[in-house]
Assembly symmetry: none
Amino acid sequence: MAAATRKRIPKARRAGRPPGDGPDQRERLLDAALACYSRKGIAATSLRSIASEAGVNPALVHYYFGDKLQLQDAVVQERVMAAFETVRAPLLRADGNVASLVAGFVSGMGDAISRYPWLPALWVREVLCEGGALRSLLMDRVAPAIPQVLATRFAAAQGAGELNPQLDPRLLVVSLVGLTLFPAAGAPIWRQMFQAEDIDADAMREHTIALLDRGLGLP
Amino acid sequence: MAAATRKRIPKARRAGRPPGDGPDQRERLLDAALACYSRKGIAATSLRSIASEAGVNPALVHYYFGDKLQLQDAVVQERVMAAFETVRAPLLRADGNVASLVAGFVSGMGDAISRYPWLPALWVREVLCEGGALRSLLMDRVAPAIPQVLATRFAAAQGAGELNPQLDPRLLVVSLVGLTLFPAAGAPIWRQMFQAEDIDADAMREHTIALLDRGLGLP
Amino acid sequence: MAAATRKRIPKARRAGRPPGDGPDQRERLLDAALACYSRKGIAATSLRSIASEAGVNPALVHYYFGDKLQLQDAVVQERVMAAFETVRAPLLRADGNVASLVAGFVSGMGDAISRYPWLPALWVREVLCEGGALRSLLMDRVAPAIPQVLATRFAAAQGAGELNPQLDPRLLVVSLVGLTLFPAAGAPIWRQMFQAEDIDADAMREHTIALLDRGLGLP
Amino acid sequence: MAAATRKRIPKARRAGRPPGDGPDQRERLLDAALACYSRKGIAATSLRSIASEAGVNPALVHYYFGDKLQLQDAVVQERVMAAFETVRAPLLRADGNVASLVAGFVSGMGDAISRYPWLPALWVREVLCEGGALRSLLMDRVAPAIPQVLATRFAAAQGAGELNPQLDPRLLVVSLVGLTLFPAAGAPIWRQMFQAEDIDADAMREHTIALLDRGLGLP
DNA sequence: TATGAATGAGTCTTCATTCAT
DNA sequence: CATGAATGAAGACTCATTCAT
């Protein structure tokens, strides 16, 4: 397709970017991959589309990463894991009480989302859903570090009478994710649906904290 | 041309299913499509895989639906819309107070999920996420019927002092979806992660209602 | 495609034509085939397009003719041969002199063309051109009956001093065809090109006769 | 997915032609396309057959041209137009009188035909006949340059008494084409029909000029 | 007599991947 | 360091053909 659409100008370098920028090229490809992944899903993303997103030749993707799967692995190692670290870090600093733990999770997740806008869609599609390409990642490397730690602490707190006894401590972790990552993944659609351009990250966080704090507050 | 010369000897009919079962075949194909859609995402689902899921020849899919997009449309018309109806119906019966509205939504969604197991993953991938194939469906046909109605009622209740004033009535709709559809979409992974085969639909519903009722119940 | 586009209404007969009209159906199919053949060429004509041109089910074509090739043979036998007969008949009635022979050919061809509008395009594409599907027809069954007879008579006339000695009697046959069938095959395009809606069959015949009679008539 | 697991062992490069011969390959493909077009007609020519005519993989055709239609366009731009130029050039050089104009056309067409053997069949099938793929080419780019110019000059000459008054100047253009391109398109068949291997391009030209000069020369 | 269902082969096109330069 | 050339496999879709009814 490349050959057919743009006239082949041999030896002339495509404009816009200096030659020989070595490792930056790699970074650019990883970013392009993430953009495509979160836009269309990993399985539906072709190497061609990543290459054209990055403005390079498809063969270059093989040159740097060797393989579709190896590219995916590199994206995980060099980008996705860092994003999870952003969520995990504040949890380590939080002292034992549930309030600060939850607040740490909610704001840590908010930070991660604003720093890595591709995170919610990628997570929802590729980790949460059956058949997602990154499920094993969650189970092997994230779960022990975040959800299981949280669930354990919630269970302990509940045992100490510090948490609504009708909640399931494990499902509470799920609920927390459903109240943070999930709304972020659908942000554009909510905004459009409710004509709610005024809802920003802060408003979301406050709403979530309020809901967790007192529930609906029904009479 | 070669094919014209040697007379084709048709292969013996595949075992397992009687031929000529007419419209049932169509239904089977719709089901197979839904299974594949929710497993791999619409964009990544090939007609081949749908056909092989249904145990038929790929050409038969064209025979019944003509084309990839028309199959997708048929799935939406004849399957997905019915699922949304299951969620909407109890809302119409709910009287004005917020408690029964929320309870109606939570249990209606629970019913829909147990009746249509493909719903959560499909919704999350194809409606929620950017680039999803069914986004316009939500905006055009579901949003006016469910989320916007809910948001309006929540806002009214809040104005009447019947709802936690720190909540955003629009985000509350999002939160409700995040507390119902989202956990369902990831059910297998939660179960595996927490070794929680004991968590069933009832447990989930009770946990969710408890959280919505009083929040975390922190001291 | 059929199944996908028009809603299948089982057992209900498509409108427009009474059922069970037996042999007429066959005739209609032959006509439809000729229409498609002359419009797109035999090789590029699908049985589907013939069926839809005739307003019937593709399977019916097999029912009547068994096979793509057998349909083609039937078209030749039952339609094309008759058209050639229209050209040949006046030649048999023409007396020996060249003038009446040529006039017989020109007007016989004109009659055939106006009676069988598909003839010129079919002949040009499928007989004249390399790779045409009806070449053997011409060589086996038409050539001995028309062109070779003409060439022989022209040669005799030339020997008797009754024909321009610079002509090649065999090529003269070719020229005659080129001055009759060929213009007819392109009639629509000539008319459009020269804005010449006024050129009808009579005008064509007169022009051709005039050219053959005296040539360009240059000073 | 199966394909992903077993490592592909590339087949040894086909013999007969060195790899990486760049733009020559493109030319070869254009030639192969023309050969198939004139042999089977454009609509009935598959990319497969073009590729195998050129001894390459079908995917390479897409690599160079992107698409069936773009290949066809390239053939027209880079081959067919050049052939028409060969016919047009001598007409521009011809002085005003009809004799030299006609002689220029006849010999220019003869040159074009001998240089581009695919021209007659292609023209007859794809320009002349209804449904031909290149009709618009003739109307838009060739007609104004050749046929309409000729018709205008013939009409002027006829007005000046220099042309047989019984001829139609527009049809005369048609007759000229019918006496040159048309016989060439059927050359193989005439030769076979009349056992006339002795008829070459020169003989054809002389016959045609003689016919145009004096007609049949009947007593 | 006629047709809906079904299928294998083929066509166009895209894709991942390799290789020589 | 980078890319143009090339290819096999697979995807969407069409087609001729068969068969049971």
